[in-house]
Subunit: 257 residues, 4 copies
């Protein structure tokens, strides 16, 4: 009786985002490589994949750094759309998978203490606004990664201390950072792995019959257990431009009615 | 902008309850002893203690079976009282501690798959209503434990199959169940461990100076790391009657204003 | 601090519906004609028009019987989209206009006691669902009006008492009711005024330049004060079929993004 | 389905406050006397009384200027505690009574246009916090009335223009304002009518048997229709200090449980 009703508005797309709690300290305690630690990124994606395997109404997950966003079908009836139940279950499941699969990705680094995540729900009324949200997260990935890439090059390769590196980058725009990378470190930012620059998007494969867009589907990295029927597609592609959505129209299928 | 404001009403006592997700299957998969598995109960309490050590505004935790309730101080400003953040963090942290400490309590039983919990927040405006909630959970513990104790005695000791045991207990009241236990199995229910009959309550020790109620404090089981300053008191006492609250007045200190 | 945040989800269409409180008694006390009282229906529409003149973000109002629904622009920032403020202001304003203009429509019937309305907000994420809502209200108008028309014909013209009339109509479908009207009272339901059968929809006139759909706009009843620039169009048309929406595309302008 | 559940948290005291919409303009249009117009204040109280006569779960109403707060019994089940329904109905009813009774208080001033109010709900978990709210409103009454009394004395009696009067009062504290009133206008603020300085509180009379606090009850102004059983007590007393609450213990009866 003292529990508030918290049903998510029907027809809107629910997005649940989980974020690492105190991951600055956590990454230090576990010797994460900077600016990107492949083990951690792949563990995050493993945990997210397990969430998607368990909860069939998640149509897409997008992750970068220590965060993952789960997009549920706009018509989902999962837990009768009760917000607390959905948010807490996804956050708990993600956390649990992260801890459970830790040693697969960090075989020589024992977990020092229990990692935690927080979660929140956001509701998007239309596909366009949902896509705006995903664009925002991928743009955020790019901005942070560019900054971190230059910052750690200055610190690790040029021997600058962190304060000086920070000052050096203050008031530098994207072009300036690319320039530093290229001129000072010989790095072309655009050739760095898409995993770092684009983050990771997980979707379900298109339905088999009939083949969508009349051709073979490029499936990218696979995260399935069965060669022939991958459970999930794990991609490091641009999701800002239309191309991704044209290639995988089944993900957000159905018109804005 | 699309995220709903969800600040918990000021001055009310927030209670966050976490519940095992699919724990029937989970307990089967991990060979839990019936009707009570000490290892699981102690692991639950370990995880709850870790939550309390981390989040200082939790003033009391009560657990039984696969659930734990965390009572926050009515004046807490944790995460600015944002419901999603509080619920998801506590649920995530509890889950993570459960997974992290698993092997301490189940040294010979590897975790088969990641356990998950859901969480929810409930708000109680006054101490009396908060205590009613805790009474309800402890009464629920008693009712379920009595049923399970007789049920599994019939199955394990009397060789009944589960369906027959269920039928035997249908329409039996508490007295009837006690009678079966005593006459058929020689068990006096009231002598079974309080851990099973009362569940577990975790509180912080009373402040040292001056000693509350003018005397030595009985501390029950301790869960602290320092012999002299226990961080937490772990008790298996009745919290329905006034006695507990008279003994530990600091737990819900302050008047209903 | 103790006031809940209640911002309406952005981009969704807010609909505020006001309903007469105890209007069965109110209509009896004021001698409303049955099944429809033109004075009351026109007073309702007058009050709704005044609400629309005052609050520019109301793009459409639909009324029937003792209810009126106000559709706000999906992008409205009225009162920063605070639900309580929007609902209470519209309900108050509607009530006040109803009382204020009473004597214009009921010149010989003094107001016996203060009329009241309740109000509520509903949020629709897409145009399609918003139109479904409006269809539902217009279908409701038709169903109730058909029932009431036959019921009062039986009572007023055939001299049946109300209980018998109710029994006569129980389990009668739409066709049956039309049949009674035609065979027993010589009334063709479809020739009754659209005001009764369709309710009333109020919109703003299409923008002048360029003329929408390339021609003169049929304006129906006018509720404006200036012959040349009507402030509002008051219509008794079908809003279930596409025709209305094709004729007045400006009302819900903008794509579902 | 698209309507949000909005049940008020049980056991908390709901307070609904209605506020005049654009009453600066409204008071100008209707020639309200400054700083206080008795007709308007009495009309507000008439409307509030009618709300209390209609809705029995309102235990107290407090009004000043163009606002009125309605305190509902903490255990009220009015409209199943649905917030929108309660707020909109009280706001509508208040507005309607204000318009309906207008001519009784303004016999020579016709209503120029329909007045409107907005409404909001606030929830208070304990009596103490509820009383803090009422203290705040009465303190607000005092502060505004003191300011307005001096301001209009400067304008009306000393012939100052409004800008100069405003500047004169800027940075003046309560003592300074009292001093101006006394030295310049010979007015002792504390002898002005309590109606202006304290606002108006409306309660129900104490239950007849047994007489509360063992004596005759001073009833102040009466608003009842029956001399012997007044329906409501209308008072202009201090509600900040304990005295009022000691005299009328039945108003907020029942312990904070």
């Amino acid at each position: 009786m003292f529990e508030k009703a918290d049903v998510l508005l029907p027809k809107c797309w629910p997005v649940i985002r989980v974020d690492g709690r105190g991951f600055h300290r956590f990454s230090d305690s576990h010797g994460f490589k900077k600016p990107n630690d492949d083990r951690s990124l792949h563990l995050m994606t493993k945990a997210a994949s397990k969430v998607m395997e368990d909860l069939k109404d998640v149509v897409l997950a997008y992750g970068q750094s220590d965060e993952y966003s789960f997009v549920l079908n706009r018509n989902t009836t999962l837990y009768n759309r009760r917000e607390s139940k959905i948010v807490s279950t996804i956050t708990s499941l993600f956390t649990s998978c992260f801890a459970f699969h830790w040693s697969e990705f960090f075989p020589t680094t024992p977990l020092q203490y229990p990692p935690a995540f927080d979660g929140r729900a956001v509701l998007y009324p239309t596909k366009r606004i949902l896509r705006d949200y995903l664009c925002w997260r991928q743009a955020d990935c790019h901005i942070n990664n560019l900054y971190n890439t230059v910052f750690w090059a200055l610190v690790q390769d040029a021997g600058m201390n962190k304060n000086d590196a920070q000052k050096r980058l203050k008031d530098t725009n994207a072009g300036g950072k690319n320039e530093i990378l290229f001129s000072q470190f010989g790095v072309n930012y655009n050739t760095l792995p898409q995993l770092y620059r684009k983050g990771t998007v997980i979707i379900r494969p298109p339905p088999r019959e009939p083949a969508p867009s009349g051709g073979a589907v490029e499936r990218g990295d696979r995260d399935g257990t069965d060669e022939k029927v991958p459970v999930l597609l794990t991609l490091n592609e641009d999701i800002i431009r239309d191309n991704f959505w044209v290639s995988y129209p089944h993900v957000l299928e159905g018109e804005d009615e």
